[in-house]
């Protein structure tokens, strides 16, 4: 746990430094509170509006977690499908690449139109934004199974599906894990964009609302909660990934 303690100490150190810089900018430049509120004011607002912020953070967290879960499953299955079938590769891979040519952000209004203002349009945004990194990282790893293992399997008379399940997938788990780690950082972006386009709840919605009413301190408070949430999510996913690749 020494490394965890060290990284925690470093993180806290960086946070303290950031807050000091922030306060220095506010004091030295004499910025008005509707441009950049002082850290203390934001902390005060964070505490006073904690119920409001947590209620909305909860909604965003659910969107992110459902999106991450579905995106990981869908991305994982797509990668396996692509790796297993040259036919699927020749058809779906160009489509996959083309889909990346459309900025996912631009799809947000359409998703809101189709799926409504509730949970699912945000889940779909989070899912879309993480689908490609998960699929491509896992797929690349699935296509790079060490040839010696595949030769051994072939001489053993392996069935192709069993070879996939017993050799190629376990060997590619580190690739899947690196896709998931990226996804943990991207998924909140998707959910927030979804909320900006149309929502009645969530941290993204709260930030827009606070901005519209010139409650910049509340906007910053929501932003800080969002950042902490993303960090915790990343740490949790990282832990899971370490467990997943413990024998790789």
């Amino acid at each position: 746990m020494k490394t965890f303690g060290t990284s925690l100490a470093r993180g806290l150190g960086a946070a303290v430094l950031g807050v000091l810089l922030w306060q220095a900018v506010v004091t030295l430049a004499d910025l008005p509170r509707f441009i950049l509120p002082a850290p203390l004011l934001v902390a005060e607002t964070l505490w006073k509006s904690r119920v409001l912020i947590l209620e909305n953070a909860w909604i965003t967290l659910i969107e992110v977690l459902v999106g991450l879960f579905l995106g990981a499953i869908l991305g994982g299955l797509s990668a396996i499908g692509l790796a297993a079938s040259p036919f699927a590769r020749s058809f779906l891979r160009p489509m996959l690449v083309f889909s990346q040519a459309v900025p996912v952000f631009a799809l947000a209004p359409i998703l809101t139109l189709w799926l409504g203002y509730g949970l699912w349009s945000k889940v779909a945004m989070a899912l879309l934004i993480i689908y490609f990194p998960v699929t491509s990282a896992f797929f690349d790893a699935l296509m790079r199974t060490p040839p010696g293992w595949l030769h051994l399997a072939q001489v053993m008379g392996a069935d192709k599906r069993r070879e996939m399940w017993l050799i190629r997938i376990p060997a590619a788990l580190p690739g899947f894990a690196s896709g998931l780690r990226l996804a943990a950082v991207y998924a909140p972006i998707g959910a927030i964009i979804g909320e900006w386009v149309g929502a009645s709840k969530g941290l993204g919605y709260l930030m827009l609302l606070a901005n519209g009413r010139a409650k910049i301190d509340l906007m910053f408070a929501a932003l800080i909660v969002l950042a902490v949430m993303t960090l915790l999510l990343h740490a949790a996913v990282d832990r899971f990934c370490r467990w997943l690749t413990r024998h790789s």
Partner: protein, 248 residues
Amino acid sequence: MEYGTLSMRPAPSLYLTGTARIGGARIFGPLSLIAEAGQWTCVLGSSGVGKSTALRILAGLDQDITLDGEAGAGDGLPLAGRVALMAQSDLLMPWLDVTGNVTLGARLRGEAVDLERARAVLLRVGLGEHLHKRPPELSGGQRQRVALARTLMEDRPVVLLDEPFSALDARTRADMQDLAAELLQGRTVLHVTHDAAEAARLGQRILLMTEAGVDEIAPPAAPVPRAFDAGETLAFQASLLRRLMVTQ
């Protein structure tokens, strides 16, 4: 409990004649190579002479090789399903324990896993205390013992060895040579090596493979594995090395 039953069919002889190319570049040939039924044949040659390519053709791993000639079993039946392969790298799966690695072939084919026999085989190769360790916990010699156990577990009449002991230290190598010679007895073994000492110890027949083709060299009369320190073995090793130097 038997650890190697040779239950399938009597071990066939192997033959390979012709010229092999990969992507238009000649790898070896024209040559003619025969491994007699139930005998341990060493193919001795320097790196790049095409020994491993010859082995890959017989193992059925010839997707990218064009053989202008013929290869197969002397009994005319297909080799697929009758061959086991042991390579220089142990090719163990790090996510499986020792028992899991030894029984991988059965699971890849969807057959019932005979854990009793796996245990017996592992006891026989001296790994009785490591049944549930994972490869990273084992030494190089122990890992190669697992690979030998996996080969025995496959119980194939033909065993192809691609320099399986060359990465081991001298003492471990000698131990492994003894163990393999004892346990693979009765099978048709084709053993590719660049080590004259190894060929002198193990070969019941010795084929010297050079750019010019394949030459058979009569080994000492002593049964294999020959003592590494016997004058006869050492003198033969020296003569092999001399031949190897001259023909380059």
